[in-house]
C-alpha cells in the first residue's frame, strides 16, 4: 500500500492534469465555433462557383476543358488531410486507415498510388510505412487554409494536366456535429460538373444562353475550373480543421472526466489509508496502556 504522502502527491498531480485538459477543452470549444463560422462563410462562394462552372460546362460541353477529361485510371493521387498535433482521439487514425482501405480496395487495380499529405501526423504515419509521398505541408489553420488549398490545387492540376496523375482524391474528416465526424473520400479531378438542372435551378436554358461570355467560354473555364478545384480543397481543409477541434474537445472532455474519476478513487484510497493508520495508532496506544497496567 502506498504511503499517505505518495497518494497526496498523486492527487495533486492528477488535479493539475485535470486543470490542463479542462483548459484545452475550453480552447478547442472556442476554436471549433470559429472554424464552423468559416465553413458557413464559404457557402455563398461555393454555390456561386459551382453554378457558374456547371452553367459553362452545359453551354460549352463537358469535353470542353482538359480538367473534365475522364482517362483510364493508371495513376491515382490522394490528398490526405491530417493534423499537426494529436490529443484528438482517433482523428488522424481514421484518416490514415481510410486512405489505406481506399487504396487497397477501390484503387487495387491502379498501377501507382501517390500521396500529397497535409498535416504532420499523416506524414509520420505514411513515411514509416514507406508510401509514395509527393509532397508534405503543415496542417492549415483557419487563416492559412485558403493559401494551402490554392497551392495544393495548382499542384494537382499540374499533375493531372501533365499526365502524372489520372485521378485525384481528397480524404478528410467531415464535420457532422460536435460529437461525430466521418471520414470522406471525394474525387476532385477530373472535375465532374454538377448537372445544370440542379445547380441552376429556377433559371431556364434561354436565360443561360443569353449571356455574353468574355473573352470566351474557353478562357473562362481555364480561369474558373481551377478555382472550383481550390474551393473543394478549401472546404475539405475547413471540414478537417472543424472536425479536429470537435475531436479534441471530445477527447479533452473525456480526459477531464477520467481525471475526476481518478481523483475520487485516489481520495477514497487516501482516506482509507488515513483511517487505517489512525486505527493502527489507537491499537498501539491501547496496547501500550494495557501493557503498563501490567
Amino acid at each position: 500500500m502506498p504511503s499517505l504522502k505518495a497518494i497526496r502527491t498523486r492527487i495533486t498531480s492528477v488535479k493539475n492534469t485535470r486543470k490542463i485538459t479542462k483548459a484545452m477543452q475550453l480552447v478547442s470549444t472556442a476554436k471549433l465555433k470559429r472554424a464552423q463560422g468559416a465553413l458557413i462563410a464559404a457557402r455563398p462562394y461555393t454555390q456561386a462557383i459551382t453554378s457558374v462552372v456547371s452553367q459553362l460546362s452545359a453551354v460549352a460541353g463537358t469535353d470542353s476543358h482538359p480538367l473534365f477529361e475522364e482517362r483510364p485510371m493508371l495513376k491515382a493521387g490522394i490528398v490526405v488531410m491530417s493534423s499537426d498535433r494529436g490529443q484528438a482521439g482517433a482523428f488522424n487514425a481514421n484518416v490514415t486507415k481510410a486512405v489505406e482501405r481506399y487504396a487497397a480496395n477501390e484503387l487495387s487495380g491502379v498501377q501507382e498510388v501517390s500521396l500529397r499529405i497535409i498535416g504532420r501526423k499523416g506524414n509520420q504515419y505514411f513515411s514509416r510505412r514507406r508510401a509514395t509521398i509527393t509532397s508534405f505541408d503543415g496542417a492549415p489553420t483557419g487563416a492559412t487554409a485558403l493559401d494551402t488549398a490554392r497551392e495544393m490545387a495548382n499542384r494537382v492540376i499540374d499533375d493531372f494536366k501533365a499526365g502524372k496523375l489520372d485521378r485525384v482524391f481528397v480524404v478528410y474528416n467531415e464535420f457532422k456535429n460536435a460529437g461525430s465526424q466521418a471520414v470522406k473520400v471525394k474525387q476532385i479531378l477530373p472535375v465532374v460538373p454538377e448537372k445544370a438542372t440542379t445547380a441552376t435551378a429556377g433559371k431556364t436554358e434561354d436565360e443561360n444562353a443569353d449571356y455574353i461570355y468574355e473573352p470566351d467560354k474557353q478562357v473562362l473555364l481555364d480561369r474558373l475550373v481551377p478555382l472550383y478545384v481550390q474551393i473543394m480543397l478549401y472546404r475539405a481543409a475547413l471540414e478537417s480543421i472543424t472536425s479536429f477541434f470537435a475531436a479534441q474537445m471530445t477527447a479533452m472532455q473525456n480526459a477531464t472526466k477520467n481525471a475526476g474519476d481518478m481523483i475520487a478513487a485516489l481520495t477514497l484510497q487516501f482516506n482509507r489509508a488515513r483511517q487505517a493508520s489512525i486505527t493502527k495508532e489507537l491499537a498501539e496506544i491501547v496496547g501500550g496502556a494495557e501493557a503498563l497496567k501490567g
Binding site: 468559416a38 462563410a41 464559404a42 455563398p44 462562394y45 461555393t46 456561386a48 462557383i49 457558374v52 452553367q55 459553362l56 485558403l146 490554392r150 497551392e151 495548382n154 499542384r155 494537382v156 492540376i157 499540374d158 499533375d159 501533365a162 436565360e207 443569353d210 449571356y211 455574353i212 461570355y213 468574355e214 473573352p215 478562357v219 473562362l220 480561369r223 474558373l224 478555382l227 481550390q230 474551393i231 478549401y234
Partner: protein, 140 residues
C-alpha cells in the same frame, strides 16, 4: 426629374471567406481578362473573367478593393455578382508587406531556370500577382 430605376444596381462581392461587400452602386470598374473596364447600369447579361488587380465600386462614393482572379457576372435582372478568390479593402492593405512578398516572389521566379514550370511555378506567379494587385490598389 424622374429618377431612372436603372441608374444604380446591386453589387455583391463574394470570396471564400464570405460576402465582403453587398451594396448599391452607379458603376463598377474591374480588372478584366482583356484589360480594365467600366460597367454601368443596364448592362445585358454577361459573364467575364477577372484577373488580379483593382476593383472600384461607385463613382461618387468610391470603394476600392484589391482582388485576385475570379469572374464578374451581370444577371438578367441587372445585378452584379463579383466572385473573386481573394479581396481586400484598400484601407486594410499593408503595402510594405505586399512589396516584400512581391520582391521574394520575383526573385524566386528569376532563378527558376530549368526547373519544370509546374504547379509550384504557378503558385509563385500567383503570389506575385496578388502582391502586385495590392500595391496597385493603394498607389493608383
Amino acid at each position: 426629374m424622374a429618377m431612372d430605376l436603372n441608374t444604380i444596381f446591386s453589387v455583391n462581392v463574394v470570396t471564400p471567406k464570405g460576402v465582403i461587400a453587398h451594396t448599391e452602386a452607379d458603376s463598377v470598374q474591374a480588372p478584366g481578362e482583356l484589360g480594365e473596364f467600366e460597367m454601368l447600369p443596364g448592362h445585358i447579361p454577361m459573364l467575364t473573367a477577372l484577373k488580379p488587380g483593382v476593383l472600384t465600386i461607385g463613382t461618387k462614393a468610391r470603394a476600392k478593393y484589391a482582388v485576385s482572379s475570379g469572374y464578374l457576372r451581370v444577371d438578367p435582372t441587372g445585378s452584379v455578382e463579383i466572385l473573386v478568390e481573394q479581396a481586400l479593402p484598400a484601407k486594410d492593405i499593408d503595402v510594405e508587406a505586399a512589396r516584400k512578398e512581391l520582391a521574394t516572389a520575383e526573385a524566386e521566379l528569376a532563378k527558376w531556370g530549368d526547373k519544370p514550370m509546374d504547379g509550384d511555378y504557378t503558385n509563385v506567379q500567383q503570389r506575385a500577382g496578388w502582391a502586385r494587385a495590392r500595391i496597385d490598389t493603394v498607389t493608383h
